[in-house]
């Protein structure tokens, strides 16, 4: 029976080529846009190399000092603060302190390379899953000795060393020579906590360790033993901040800082102005935007589906006249719609894969590796199915209840 249904459905879709095309176009392109947007979202906020275990990671990237009279200043915390308080936290498994990435210049063969450099400790490499193509990260020894060693990314390796060997060679960055000990895959620039072109030991920046202010140019990345520990870590962090506020020099009234997951820190920085955590707000806005975006194609789909069914009212009449029950007719339309939607889904899937590959290749987003999010794809497809069924099957259901004669005459008026 099902095979027969599918056969008929296929025949119908071929016969009504134009309507089929409109439906397929609508479904597949809507899914495609949805996929590209969610993949961009994942690219920025989701688990991704090297921040793979996002549910176990927290980031400290901002500290705000309130000085009274409404004057406040905020920015990345200092090494002093992170080293003295955050590194000594009890609940996390590991804490890494590293500098923000800084733009520097490097010159090679009369060409300029604008590079971003980041100073890190050895825990940085333990917490994050960098994919090493060559060599290894620097360890505790190199950090302790402030060795001039560097890990570089793949693109820098290509631009600086070409096809020749890189390991053990010297790279001169900002008038300083480093020995290359590792090459890693590129990290997307939007991953501000891990991204850089060149990573060197944090001790090379030791002149900044002496500054006892709370603000400076450093981040911390915290890794929990398990995802369930995250609230405990946040609690401990909040206690530390209260402590710091209390101990603080007279002119500073209040210190604010948070250990946040990636999305939280974004939601705090932008809609929340660095104060409230606005994740819910952000999600609401995104859901609203997605809803508005889906609305038009959905109305369109419903519209087309209704037209498609109405057009076939006489067919329903004939089937009824020859003894088809209401159920068989509805079954036919259900199969037809599901079939069409799945076909659109498949097309949408292929299109999304193509467009994502195109974006990755075009270099619009530096070092991007966009991939398909299958969960979102499934949701999109489900949504299409629901609307397809509502719009395609409900009129059919109504018509299947009509008497054969009325249906033959073109349905109710």
């Amino acid at each position: 029976m099902l095979k027969n249904y599918i056969k008929i459905a296929w025949a119908v879709l071929l016969r009504r080529k134009f309507f089929t095309f409109i439906s397929l176009f609508g479904i597949s392109f809507t899914l495609m846009v949805l996929m590209v947007v969610t993949s961009l979202f994942d690219h920025v906020f989701g688990p991704q190399m090297p921040e793979r275990e996002t549910d176990r990671l927290l980031f400290v990237n901002n500290l705000r000092e309130e000085q009274g009279e409404g004057y406040s200043s905020s920015g990345p915390p200092s090494y002093f603060f992170l080293d003295r308080y955050v590194r000594r936290m009890q609940t996390p498994e590991k804490v890494s302190v590293h500098s923000v990435f800084n733009p520097v210049n490097s010159y090679i063969h009369n060409k300029k390379l604008a590079l971003d450099i980041k100073h890190t400790d050895q825990q940085f490499w333990e917490i994050l899953d960098f994919h090493f193509l060559e060599g290894n990260p620097f360890g505790a020894q190199e950090v302790k000795n402030a060795s001039r060693v560097a890990v570089i990314n793949q693109t820098t390796r290509k631009n600086y060393f070409g096809t020749g060997p890189a390991l053990g060679q010297t790279i001169e960055v900002d008038q300083v020579k480093y020995r290359v000990i590792g090459v890693v895959e590129d990290v997307p620039v939007l991953r501000i906590h891990s991204y850089a072109d060149v990573w060197v030991p944090i001790t090379l920046k030791s002149q900044e360790f002496k500054d006892t202010g709370l603000r400076g140019g450093f981040f911390a990345t915290i890794k929990a033993r398990q995802a369930a520990d995250i609230p405990k870590i946040k609690e401990e962090y909040d206690r530390i901040i209260q402590e710091v506020s209390r101990l603080n020099p007279k002119e500073t009234k209040q210190v604010h800082s948070f250990a946040d997951a990636i999305l939280e820190s974004f939601a705090r920085a932008f809609p929340g102005n660095g104060k409230q955590d606005k994740v819910t707000f952000l999600y609401t806005m995104m859901a609203l935007a997605a809803f508005l975006f889906m609305l038009l194609p959905t109305i369109n789909l419903v519209n087309i589906n209704i037209s498609r069914i109405m057009e076939r009212s006489s067919e329903i009449g004939v089937r009824k006249a020859f003894g088809a029950s209401s159920n068989t007719i509805i079954g036919q339309f259900v199969v037809e719609n599901v079939f069409l939607t799945l076909l659109g889904g498949l097309l949408g899937f292929l299109l999304s894969a193509g467009v994502l590959a195109l974006i990755n290749d075009s270099g619009i987003i530096v070092y991007s590796q966009l991939g398909l999010n299958l969960r979102v794809f499934a949701w999109g497809l489900l949504l299409c199915l629901v609307f397809g069924l509502i719009s395609g099957v409900y009129p059919a259901f109504k018509m299947s209840r009509l008497h054969a004669v009325e249906a033959l005459r073109g349905g109710s008026k």
Partner: protein, 394 residues
């Protein structure tokens, strides 16, 4: 005839409901996107007021040990830079150079008027030559301002209009707080240096007076105008030389052209993405509209035959169907207009009302165009129907 069409659509409002909703949402989407694009385009057409060709920015990050001598080191660097024949002009500044992701602002006021939030730039005399600024009232500041009682400042026309309106601005004092006032010595017509797509904001230029600066005073940027054709070879040589003066400082060089590009990318990438998504939505709607109209016309075969029998010409049939679609578009537009008109009326998002009205007009035009394009072929098909055949199809 038009009344007849309205009557037809109105009586068939239930089955046309979805089409009208679709038109309504399409209108809203187009309105939003077009207003956004118009706003950016409108800003883009305004003069920047600066010439950033061959201007480089050197940014400094000193190491902590040498902070105490920052001023002395920078003075040495300035001398070295001015000695290069490739450099035409050079001026220190804070990080809020044109196209930078950094801004400094403060409130200034004149008389009893409310204070105006103003971008505030601390620059040297040569800044005018670096960007070839034109001063149309008064003069740019110079060494003679070093001893002025109130700091001499140059402001842009936007700030002048906000503070003084039609009044003369030159020689007047503007107040920052109870203890600080500035004297206006010049007005420049434009200074729109945030982004090519941004509106011009009030701007105020203060003179850097190195003699009076504290020893640890640091200006994080140095802007230089180089001779055309100067490239990376000179850049490397200059950085090496400067590194010898400022040991352990990080010196970064970038061209303002590059900064302009990355700043404008911030606007046009989302704009292009929105355009593509909007285009897709509209195309989708167009296809749907086309399909539904086609189907509707097929369903109304006998009506077409009847109208022909009653004396309608092919042209009248065609016009009727195109007209019906236009009437539906009008219904959708009226709904949309009700909503869209709130934007200029309530000044949502601070865009000028003119841009909203232009957006509404353009969106309405596009919807009508879309409706006509989608209706022409099916209507032409309808007009071709042979009346004798159509009347017997029942």
């Amino acid at each position: 005839m038009i009344r007849h069409l309205f009557k037809l659509i109105w009586n068939r409002k239930k089955s046309n409901f979805l089409l009208i909703t679709e038109m309504f949402f399409s209108f809203m989407v187009l309105f939003a996107v077009i207003s956004f694009v118009l706003y950016n385009y409108h800003n883009y057409k305004q003069p920047l007021g600066i010439n950033h060709q061959n201007v480089w920015q050197l940014s400094f990050r000193p190491n902590a040990d040498s902070m105490g001598q920052a001023k002395a080191i920078q003075e040495q660097m300035m001398q070295r830079i001015k000695s290069f024949p490739e450099v035409e002009a050079a001026s220190l500044a804070h990080n809020n150079v044109p196209f930078a992701f950094s801004s400094m602002s403060m409130g200034v006021s004149y008389g009893n008027k409310e204070s105006v939030e103003t971008n505030n730039y601390e620059v040297q005399d040569a800044y005018k030559d670096v960007f070839q600024l034109s001063v149309d009232q008064g003069r740019w500041f110079g060494p003679q301002d070093a001893v002025a009682l109130h700091t001499s400042v140059v402001i842009n026309q936007v700030l002048k209009d906000r503070l003084f309106g039609e009044e003369e601005a030159l020689g007047k004092q503007i107040k920052v707080d109870d203890s600080t006032s500035y004297t206006v010595v010049g007005v420049i017509p434009h200074y729109r240096a945030d982004s090519e797509f941004a509106e011009e904001e009030p701007a105020l230029f203060r003179r850097i007076n190195l003699e009076q600066a504290k020893p640890d005073q640091l200006y994080a940027s140095l802007l230089i105008k180089v001779k055309p054709g100067t490239g990376v070879v000179f850049e490397e040589k200059m950085v090496k030389d400067l590194s010898r003066i400022a040991k352990d400082w990080t010196i970064e060089v970038t061209t303002l052209e590059k900064m302009r590009q990355s700043k404008s990318k911030l606007t046009w990438v989302p704009m292009a993405a929105m355009g593509v998504v909007c285009g897709f939505l509209i195309f989708n709607v167009a296809l749907g509209l086309f399909g539904v109209l086609w189907y509707n016309i097929n369903r109304r075969y006998s009506e077409i035959g009847l109208r022909r029998a009653l004396g309608a010409t092919t042209r009248q049939i065609r016009n009727q169907f195109v007209g019906e679609v236009l009437v539906m578009a009008t219904f959708g537009l009226l709904l949309g207009l009700l909503l869209a008109a709130q934007f200029p009326l309530l000044h949502v998002f601070q865009l000028s009302a003119e841009i909203y009205w232009q957006g509404i007009g353009a969106a309405a035009l596009l919807i009508f165009l879309l409706a006509i394009v989608c209706a022409v072929y099916p209507s032409w098909q309808a007009a071709k129907i042979h009346p004798a055949v159509a009347l017997h199809e029942e």
